[in-house]
């Protein structure tokens, strides 16, 4: 499982504080703890929601420059605004980064795909369009097809794409778990070179016993073809759920990662 560590996200109040106060000590600590726990990428989302675009650009530049000193791991530059993405990528100074994200909407594709091409960066591509999140597998697959078309136009190899089948809460529609899982499998069948990613915790929104729901869903998703997850690596149970799923799918030769993690406890 490729773990994209989600904690540096300014929608969390603790991180909003870090960003607003330019508290580099706490920012670096948060990155380093996530790396130590097994993160492959550190997601960076500095959108506090109460500033201008220029504020977000400056916050991104500051966070990226601090994180480059704090860790060797690649960053995952996360914003809904292509100008912020570009500022973050430029601040990487040639070090590898991931882009989070685009969707099947011309406005996004025409601004984000050129960045993916120019920076040779892997890109998270949401299976949705300008209208929102399709409720069916076919609808989400169509969004992926549109994105794959844009990849051709902008010369971004499909191998650089992480399709996100999207997760909606099962509390409001119990069928949504299967829509996501079947979309994963359909993406894998139609675009075998591409990889898949998702954020998990949305699945259990509004229900009790969320950790168990999240872990079970993660393992089902691994079976359906999930390659990467945007998740909290500091959550040891979820990390072991991921290792367990990978091991059962034969993706962890000789159970190295699985048993090493248990040994450390």
């Amino acid at each position: 499982m490729i773990v994209i560590a989600e904690k540096i996200n300014a929608t969390r109040s603790a991180v909003r504080e870090i960003i607003e106060q330019r508290d580099e000590g706490r920012l670096e600590d948060l990155a380093q703890r996530q790396v130590a726990a097994g993160a492959a990428y550190i997601d960076v989302n500095v959108g506090t929601g109460n500033g201008t675009r220029q504020d977000e650009i400056e916050s991104m530049q500051w966070a990226v420059s601090r994180l480059l000193d704090a860790t060797d791991k690649p960053l995952c530059i996360d914003s809904a605004d292509a100008a912020v993405l570009e500022a973050g990528l430029a601040a990487m100074g040639g070090r590898p980064a991931m882009i989070n994200s685009t969707k099947a909407d011309v406005k996004y594709l025409s601004t984000v795909m050129p960045l993916a091409q120019r920076y040779e960066a892997p890109v998270v591509a949401l299976a949705m369009d300008g209208q929102g999140i399709p409720g069916t597998v076919e609808g989400r697959l169509n969004a992926c097809r549109a994105i794959a078309g844009a990849c051709r136009d902008y010369q971004v190899p499909l191998a650089s794409v992480f399709f996100d089948p999207l997760v909606l809460p099962v509390a409001t529609d119990a069928g949504q778990g299967k829509v996501t899982l079947n979309t994963l499998a359909a993406i894998k069948a139609e675009f075998p070179e591409a990889r898949t990613v998702m954020g998990l915790s949305n699945i259990s929104f509004g229900l009790p016993g969320r950790p168990m729901l999240n872990a079970a869903f993660l393992q089902m998703a691994i079976y359906a073809g999930l390659d990467a997850a945007i998740m909290d690596p500091l959550n040891a149970d979820m990390m072991q759920a991921a290792r367990t799923g990978d091991a059962l799918m034969g993706k962890d030769r000789h159970f190295r990662k699985y048993s090493r993690a248990l040994r450390r406890q």
Partner: protein, 227 residues
């Protein structure tokens, strides 16, 4: 790297269970360092004596692996990873253990007995015997008594080597000797046995012709038998 270092590194990587450079080991962070395949390649390039590698790097390190398994430190997949290392090393070393151009010293049927999957020791014995000039027919592991006896009959082999690593499967060896007896074939073939739980007294008990501590011991005994 000198000879000593290479041999120590091979032993270390057998214990870590790393066949090639990109493999993970039992311990974290070894990816990218040369592993058994790359190190054995160095052995071949530097013309280091392949027998030394078998004795000093492969056999002893599997004992260490067995000890770790005993203590509960290693799990079955860890043992398997180490077993793969020895297999990979023997595949590469095999041709270099052979004496070129030696005339066949006779047909030798070799097998790990029914119910037993341990084949590392047997494979080493097979390769060393080939190297010593025997015409070895290796039947593999978990081989039924019927098949072993039938193969001895069909090939007219003068020697039969049996391997067992489990106290539960070593009894098969006695059964095979009994069948050879019943089929009237016992005098045609010399039966040599080996494997950790076996011993001279066990060989005597089941009526085997010889007990072999290891592959080199087997070769010595065969020399005496050829007289």
């Amino acid at each position: 790297m000198n000879e000593q270092e290479i041999i120590e590194k091979i032993a270390f990587n057998v214990i870590q269970g790393r066949v090639t450079e990109e493999d993970e080991g039992y311990d974290e962070g070894l990816e990218g360092q040369p592993a058994v395949a790359e190190l054995v390649q160095m052995v071949i390039e530097q013309r280091i004596d392949a027998k030394k590698v078998v004795v000093n790097a492969l056999t002893g390190s599997m004992e260490t692996v067995g000890d770790k398994f005993d203590k509960g430190e290693y799990l079955i997949p860890d043992m398997l990873a180490s077993a793969e290392c020895v297999g990979a090393a023997m595949d590469l070393l095999g041709p270099h253990l052979a004496d070129a151009g030696v005339q066949s010293k006779g047909k030798f049927v070799l097998a790990t007995v029914a119910g037993d999957l341990h084949d590392i020791g047997k494979n080493i014995v097979g390769i060393m015997l080939k190297g010593a000039g025997f015409d070895v027919l290796d039947l593999g592991n978990d081989v039924s008594s019927e098949r072993i006896v039938a193969q001895v009959k069909d090939t007219g082999a003068r020697y039969l080597g049996l391997s067992a690593l489990l106290t539960t499967t070593m009894r098969e060896m006695g059964a095979i000797i009994k069948t050879l007896d019943e089929e009237g074939m016992r005098s045609q073939v010399q039966v040599l046995i080996g494997g950790a739980p076996t011993s001279q007294s066990f060989a005597d008990e089941i009526g085997a012709d010889a007990y072999c501590r290891d592959a080199f011991h087997a070769i010595d005994i065969l020399k005496q038998m050829a007289g």
